[in-house]
Amino acid sequence: MKRREETIQVTKQPYIEDVGPRKIKSIQFSLFSESEILKQAEVEVFKAAYYESTKKPIPNGLLDPHMGPPNKNGHCETCHGNFRECPGHYGYLVLALPVYNVGYLGTVVDILKCICKCCSSILLNDKERREYLKNMRNPKTEFLKKSYLQKKVVQRCTAMTTGQKTVACSNCGYMNGMVKKGQIKILHERGNRFLDEPNAAIAHKREIRSSVSVPPELDPKTVYSLFKNMSDEDCELLYLSDRPEKLLVTSIPVPPISIRPSVFVDGGTQSNENDISERLKKIIFANAGLLEEMSDPNPYSRSLNLWINLQMEVAQYINSDVRGVPVQMQATTPLSGFTQRLKGKQGRFRGNLSGKRVEYTGRTVISPDPNLKITEVAIPILMARILTYPERVSQHNIEKLRQCVRNGPNKYPGAKFIRHPDGTEISLMFSSRKRHADELKFGYIVDRHLEDGDIVLFNRQPSLHRMSIMSHRARIMPWRTLRFNESVCNPYNADFDGDEMNMHVPQTEEARTEALMLMGVQNNLCTPKSGEILVASTQDFLTSSFLITRKDTFYDRASFTLICSYMGDAMDPIDLPTPAFIKPVELWTGKQLFGVLLRPYSKMRVYVNLTVTEKSYSGKEETMCPSDGFVYFRNSELISGQLGKATLGNGNKDGLYSVLLRDYKSHAAATCMNRLAKLSARWIGNHGFSIGIDDVTPGETLVKQKQGEIDRNYKKCEDCIQQFNEGKLAVQPGCDAAQTLEAEVTMSLNKVRDDIGKICMKALHWRNSPLIMSQCGSKGSPINISQMIACVGQQSVGGRRAPDGFIDRSLPHFPFKSKFPAAKGFVAHSFFDGLSATEFFFHTMGGREGLVDTAVKTADTGYMSRRLMKALEDLAVYYDSTVRNASACIVQFMYGDDGMDPSQMEEKKGRPLNFSRLFMKVKATCPPGGEKSLSYSEICGIVNERLSYHDMSPEGGCSEAFRASLSDFLIKNLAETLKKLREVLLLGEEQYAGDGREYLENIALNISGITKKQLQVFLNTCISRYHLKRLESGTAIGAIGAQSIGEPGTQMTLKTFHFAGVASMNVTLGVPRIKEIINAAKNITTPIITAKLLSSSNLTVARMIKARIEKTLLGQVAKSIKIVMASRLASIVISLDMETIQVSQLCIDAYTVKQSILTSKLKVKEHQVKVLNPRKLEVFPHADKDKLHFELHRLKNKLPSVVVKGITMVQRAVVNKEQQKDRKSDVKGETYELLVEGTGLLAVMGIEGVDGRNTKSNHIMEVQQTLGIEAARVSIIDEINYTMSSHGMTIDLRHMMLLADLMTYKGEILGITRHGVQKMKDSVLMLASFEKTTDHLFNASVNGRDDKIEGVSECIIMGIPMQIGTGMFKLRQCVEQVELNYQSDPMIS
């Protein structure tokens, strides 16, 4: 901004202190007054036109050059800057009459409700007013409380004037009626009684017959004057930070041209104006018309209509979607208003402020390359020539950079720009590159092309978790695709069917370092969701490992050494192991190859010890498993087992790579993956692996077996159907006959496919490719094989068999009401056979459901993730190990109760260490070496001593749970087994010495003994490793938690229902259930109370309690309900069926029924019911004689539905049988519990016989109401956990704890919805960027909110580094004061 002409010419430039870069500390929201608008404006705009015919903008028009240059050729007349320099200036436009601002309309109505419409004083009485004011003025009252108080005041005042009520103002006595919000207008209904007097007066005049009616509208002008009269104190009471008259629009600031650019089209003949300009033009028109009419002396003007017109235009200027605009004023394509600019996904907040466009990025198709390391990404030269990195010239790189400069921008490796330290930039496109290369000096910055080893960020959308964007090292390669190792497909969820991925090049050394350390692939091998390994071998790598490690693969010297050389780039030495066969021929086995892969040469000190059970494990005999399914690595040698997905694949916690990662850090795991990738890609290339038609052709025996299986199940179904038709089918608990039939038929048909799958797996030759793939876990399942070869199986739609699309049948090819398998979507053919027409149709039905489900689910989970992220984004671990939000409110005192990092948890259930594995490793890697085994007491002594050290105490940072589990493992498991072993071997408690049975000691040591050294090493490793697993301070654990819960949502497949123990009792599952929990929904689809019983083993007691819980109606227990008409009075006599009551063990007699009738909604009084005897009672109607008959019949109809026993909210209860195995005695005990469908937890708990302390409900809000907030917290955790685990997903409990804590930490349950988030966060910008953008902004300005830029969203919007992670700590440097020497310099020193 240079005001060239207007600068005051001073002889001396004023001194301006340089305070360094300024930082935005907070943003204050307030209202804009008319005077401020005028002050800020440079020009008045009153001409509704753009350009003159000469294409010059009209002065005082909408494109007045005072507001900035309208196009590239123009100049700004205010600052004289050109199109690029001028930031734009405001104009103003004065309205003839005030109008409402639609954004503030609600607030205006609220204020009007509270004040007198005559004298503007508040309607509350003085005492109340002072009370509220006192609360409002309390400096401790925070925003939420204040807005609550304000709402309270509005409520109090509205209550005075609801309906036809009017209230007299205590100040002036004016009668105030109800104030209502109309469509962009405000109504004040005072009733017609005020018009009585004028009407009466008029009535005397004959000429005018009609009565006077005053429109009940409050026009903006009156409102304006009312507001002007309001006292400041009243404003404060209504939580207005500013004068209320500012809420009305009296003049409009015309925004600078730069935000509403005018574009010439058609070669400059026409201009295309912005929507805002167009709208302003309309406003000016309307305003001009109004002004003209107001100046018109004719009193019968139609000024009101034009005023409304202006109001509508101004309303649409702010929000073009505003309701209440007359149809004739609505354009076909509405001009977007300011609200539209801000809100929505593409709006200013979400589209430009929270997400910004960046430079130095690339995007293309991806493809696989197993020869790359997992940390690398191949970047095409084409891309590398465009993306640059600014490298500073130093003595180490000057020659390289000189060459780059010489090559220029078009030849790789080249450079695009040179920047001098003084800021001058030289493009190397045209200028003489040779000279620049020679003139290159230290300190210059060269924007060179990307080269090998540069750090790039690599990303694939949808970015559901933090592993969706990781940093790789660049490898510049020819051709046109981005390539990476297939092992890294998993975290990105990428495949190569045409996927595209993005890459970004960080431009500073700091950014590169941070990217490498925090986002590097090596440092993200594990998912923080559960601590499972995510980057691991896939597909072909698994197949080839599986084939290599087969028991009967042998290699001679030539082929073994060849395969060894496949592993690397011939850079590592390889020590050849001793062959497994020495005679008759020298042969190595494939398993030995894996020994070489893990530990190629003896100097490499990697000793892997692990045991894994693969899919094929028979379940007994451990290593001696006949199908070789037990994988055992001992000191980096593969002892036994055929490797498959469990060992090498992802999603496992004790696979090979997990063990390498935990014991030997990420580098070892990464190199091992690299070696395996190279080895298997090359090996399988030689070996060959393909699939053909003969792989899916069933053999003769298989066809026979399949037919037999199908026939058997068809028979079973037919039998069931027959039984059903005869009515002999035994009914399952909680079902009727039809449901039972359906359940049984469905069960047996669903089993067919699995059974045939098993048969296929057995019958196929081991070389069959699909079989190999499904066995090793690289692709496909037995079901897939079965579908291809034998039988496609039952098709289901919505969890049941194919529904009836026609009357009483699924398709017209079948008889009516047919329940046979084929008529209900059972596909007996295989894909190889081909499907029949009906089968094909059923198959498409199932297929479509899958497609629809995925389409719907992605939208649902996406929104869920977004909400979770917004609610949890600012939670981080602070240096005092608490979890707090941005405004430093504590959410958890210790993250997950132990402060552990979920991504580093080794044990399956989320505990920090897997002791038994670690113990095995210690024993294998530290051989006893002649030391004696410890005895039971010695072990206890050493363990207890070590556990008493400082680092095992809570002050030393060790959780009680860990300490307990460690001592439990050592004393209970280890020492006890040793004790038992010694008993078995007939050895005593203490060591034998000099006896003949010394050899037994040796055996005992070898089997399960432990030496002192081993025990010490074990203890120290456990403890030191535990302390390394603590969560680092600053970790954005909230964001991680949100991703960990949001990401699995996308994988939740169909299966929205699940049987809770009993068939027919469904529980909602999957995304809908998670949504319910997170939203804290008041009504959930399947509320179920699980009631444990005090005497859980007795079935009759369980039935009795069930009967008490389930509601029993009078009609069910009454023998008769009769109307008895006597001569003097009529009544209804109810006689109870005592037999039924006895049988179902209900404690009902006439007395209890009387109580039930009295408490029911029949409005029967005490004296109307008379108990005749314990089984009979009489009800007298209470009515006039003429209505008596109707009353009698009404009662007779209503009485049977009176609930006499049970809980009204309960739909039904089912007794659930649970098999319980007692481990000690092996006696199978059956316990019973009740599953109650419906709500009413309190009532269920209160029923006699129910164990109230162990009764649970899945309705979180109800739990909160009955048991309190802590119980609700636990039930949130349990419910999320249950839902996730029933979909086979493991999520660390700590994430769910954090979510539950966030939802409950305010003392009430806050859902992760806009209402809940509003109460959790107090940043306006954050809320505005979430949902209801403009509402939050308008309210913030009314209340004068102050947004300290603390949270994540706000910092991103303002472009400030956020206070999380590496931005959490502040670095303060102690700089010594510079002593200034004001003495004259000594001439000679």
Binding site: D575, V585, K591, S602, D628, E983, V984, N1006
Partner: protein
């Protein structure tokens, strides 16, 4: 003569007790005459066929060197004279597990050896197991009798 760790004559009682799983490798079940040992052993029958009821002598040794010098762990090819010369089938592997079975007087010790994935389970009196150490490198030598 070199000291061997175990020497006995076995008779094959059964072949593939759990059914045939692999083309070239068979698991044989054998009992010994002298120490009444029970053995399960995976044998590469492609290069060394073996049938039920066949008798063979089996030796376990920690080195093939005739002078008894311990095995280096590195494999050197060459035509040096060794213990293997007298045998037809020689395998090299590692002892990975010792465990016990039964209790009291009938207690038996198991030793497990893996020859590059081909496994051996040798069950017998604990006194025999006492000679072996975990992680010991072993040579298994077989000669038909």
């Amino acid at each position: 003569m070199v000291e061997t760790l175990f020497e006995d004559i076995f008779t094959v009682t059964q072949k593939d007790p759990d059914g045939k799983k692999f083309d070239r490798v068979n698991r044989i079940e054998a009992r010994s005459e002298q120490f009444d040992m029970f053995m399960l052993l995976d044998i590469n029958t492609e290069i060394y066929p073996m049938c039920v009821k066949e008798k063979f002598m089996m030796v376990l040794a920690s080195t093939l060197n005739l002078d008894g010098t311990p095995d280096t762990g590195y494999f050197i090819q060459g035509n040096k004279k060794s213990l293997a010369d007298k045998f037809e089938y020689v395998m090299h592997g590692k002892l990975y597990r010792i465990s016990e079975e039964g209790s009291g007087k009938h207690v038996k010790a198991d030793i497990f050896v893996s020859f590059g994935g081909l496994l051996m389970q040798l069950r017998g009196d604990p006194s025999i197991a006492a000679k072996f150490e975990l992680d010991q490198r072993l040579f298994l030598l077989i000669r038909k009798v």
